[in-house]
């Protein structure tokens, strides 16, 4: 019972956030269809916002793809973690892969036994998928209707959304130090290199700081 409740409340809260994505995408000149396809096909919040954020900053498609993909690597590690518990084959593995995201893993790992973990994964994965996509469409249509994104604060909603995703990850000194250096590097590169490069360059900082214990 409680796994169903957990899954539902996570799905509706996170899903509602899809409206911010839909609005941000349209504000960055993506079409409503493109916004919806990102939510259906890419289906990973931080990576989706990265595609929109890099393009909004004037970056190239390759840059957007690279940034989004690097942000998505953690989904691969989640799959690794959960594969022995889900024990999937064939098309079920393909479906499970698509809904392997922060939330489905989070709810699954919070459960006590393997049967509950499997239920948590599927309920939350499908729940978030449904609500996230519905709200993306609503947000995209809403943003399309209102015109000038700056007048509605949509240009600030994008970095605020990133901040909301970043905040829970600033859990130790190392991540704060990294964040500080990332701001410095990204902004100091901005006037000198093509847009988008300052963002992806910060991957190097993560490698340098993560190299040693």
């Amino acid at each position: 019972m409680s796994v169903k409740r957990d899954s539902f409340s996570v799905s509706i809260t996170v899903g509602a956030y899809g409206s911010a994505f839909g609005a941000a995408a349209v504000a960055a000149d993506f079409s409503v269809l493109q916004a919806c396809l990102l939510s259906l096909l890419l289906f990973s919040g931080a990576s989706q916002f990265a595609v929109v954020g890099v393009i909004a900053a004037g970056g190239t498609a390759i840059n957007a793809i690279a940034t989004s993909t690097l942000l998505g690597t953690r989904n691969g590690l989640y799959g690794l973690r959960l594969a022995p518990i889900l024990k999937l084959r064939g098309w079920r593995r393909v479906v499970a892969a698509q809904i392997t995201i922060d939330e489905s893993i989070g709810v699954a790992l919070a459960q006590k036994d393997e049967a509950e973990m499997r239920r948590g994964f599927w309920y939350t994965g499908f729940g978030v998928f449904i609500f996230w996509n519905l709200f993306t469409l609503a947000g995209a249509l809403g943003a399309q209707a209102i015109g000038d994104p700056s007048a509605w604060g949509l240009d600030a909603a994008v970095p605020a959304a990133f901040l909301g995703l970043l905040w829970p990850r600033l859990s130790d000194r190392k991540s704060w130090v990294l964040a500080g250096f990332a701001i410095l590097l990204a902004l100091s590169l901005t006037p000198f290199v093509p847009a988008g490069i300052p963002i992806i360059s910060c991957t190097l900082l993560a490698i340098i700081i993560g190299w040693r214990k």
């Binding site: 004037g58 793809i65 989004s68 799959g79 604060g153 909603a157 970095p159 970043l166 902004l187 992806i200």
Partner: protein, 102 residues
């Protein structure tokens, strides 16, 4: 094909590839602590850079405008432990007001 379509299709295909690979890669890969550490730090680096650039840059120029006030509002709300949607909406409203009146 436009930049937008390439970005949409390319990022979606790679995202799915990574998710599917996760279910197939040998588990020993996960035991490399260095890869694990770097993997948890990459989102911190990229998200921070995205915040900085989307707040203080306009193409390749550094600017200080209404968005900075929006982000300041978001930080304040996060420190006050406001829920996710409140943070985003608060930032948007603050930025919109600044855009209109400053």
């Amino acid at each position: 094909m436009s930049t937008f379509w390439i970005a949409v299709i390319g990022s979606s295909a790679l995202a799915f590839g990574i998710k599917l690979a996760g279910a197939s890669v040998p588990k020993s890969f996960l035991s490399n602590l260095r890869i694990l550490r770097i993997n948890t730090l990459i989102p911190v680096a990229l998200l921070t850079a995205l915040i900085a650039v989307n707040t203080f840059a306009d193409k390749t120029q550094l600017v200080l405008d209404h968005r900075a006030l929006g982000i300041a509002a978001a930080v304040t709300l996060l420190i006050a432990k406001a829920p996710f949607p409140v943070v985003v909406v608060g930032a948007a409203i603050t930025s919109a007001l600044a855009y209109r009146y400053i």
